[in-house]
């Protein structure tokens, strides 16, 4: 596993942990209408510490002592992944802005903090698509390049 693949795995694990934390906070605050418990914070911190430890292990273990940062093939794969991530970002942003307009009608309005949630959600999804696109391209040997 080279550095690009490790980076993709880090992003993927970051997405999963963030998604779990945000999902818990969203359900607690908006669905159950209560504040998060302190015991949950301990579990979340433990989760973050485990992830951090895994990241350190992953980054310390190198493929070989002469492993480069990224060669031409890695760069091409990363470039393609960014473009795929852009397509997903664009479609998600479009859905996130047009669906409220359609649901709430001409005179509808949304709280301003929703925009931040939309941006953060799209950012997380862009990271997920980027990481998956990199891993998929390595798996299929990047035949297009």
């Amino acid at each position: 596993m080279n550095r690009t693949q490790k980076g993709a795995l880090l992003i993927l694990s970051g997405f999963i942990v963030n998604f779990a934390i945000l999902g818990y906070l969203f359900i607690t605050i908006f669905v159950l209408k209560s504040l998060p418990k302190r015991s949950a914070a301990v579990v979340l911190l433990l989760l973050l510490a485990m992830q951090f430890g895994w990241w350190v292990l992953l980054l310390r273990k190198r493929q070989s002592p002469a492993e480069p940062e990224a060669d031409e093939r890695d760069k091409a794969i990363m470039r393609n992944a960014v473009l795929v991530s852009f397509i997903s970002t664009w479609l998600l942003l479009e859905a996130a802005t047009l669906i409220p307009a359609l649901m709430l009608g001409e005179a509808g309005s949304v709280p301003v903090y929703i925009l931040t949630f939309i941006n953060f959600g799209v950012f997380l999804m862009a990271g997920l698509v980027y990481a998956v696109a990199i891993l998929v391209q390595y798996r299929y040997g990047s035949k297009n390049e």
């Binding site: 664009w90 479009e94 047009l98 009608g105 949304v110 709280p111 301003v112 925009l115 941006n119």
Partner: protein
């Protein structure tokens, strides 16, 4: 006029026609009957068309692979990809700035009209197209050298 120029003009008129015709029709429908599914659907189509128009050169490049004449070579592909990536970066900054500006204008407990959100998206499309075009021009003027 060489083939590259004629292909560029073709993209220009295709993009313009697919952008303007549904846009004008959607505006007329909204003006006449108010917001409904049809104009929103047309608007979605326009924004997808505008935002993902940069994919076309790659698609046509693949279709014309069997032909001997090369109009979109490796260097052009690299320049095109880099300019799209530059546009993508600016687009992110634009959307983050839009969030912050909206927050500053209406305050943390304020709300914004849903009509503003599609307009923000349209603004993003304009900025993306502008940055992509500028980045392409700059890279071609510099000879498309590698600046990784």
């Amino acid at each position: 006029m060489n083939q590259t120029k004629s292909v560029s003009w073709f993209y220009f008129f295709l993009g313009l026609a697919c952008f303007l015709i549904p846009g004008v029709v959607a505006v007329f429908i909204v003006y006449d009957k108010g917001v409904s599914f049809v104009p929103v659907f047309m608007f979605a189509g326009i924004v997808i068309w505008g935002g993902l128009f940069w994919v076309f050169p790659f698609t046509f490049g693949r279709l014309g692979k069997g032909k001997k004449k090369v109009t979109f070579d490796e260097r052009d592909q690299l320049i095109h990809k880099k300019s799209v990536m530059a546009g993508y970066v600016v687009l992110w900054i634009y959307f983050v700035a839009a969030c912050v500006i909206a927050w500053c204008i209406v305050g943390p407990h304020g709300s914004i009209s849903v009509n503003v959100m599609p307009l923000t998206l349209l603004g993003g499309l304009v900025i993306f197209t502008l940055v992509q075009g500028l980045a392409s021009l700059i890279q071609y003027s510099r000879g498309g050298k590698e600046h990784e």
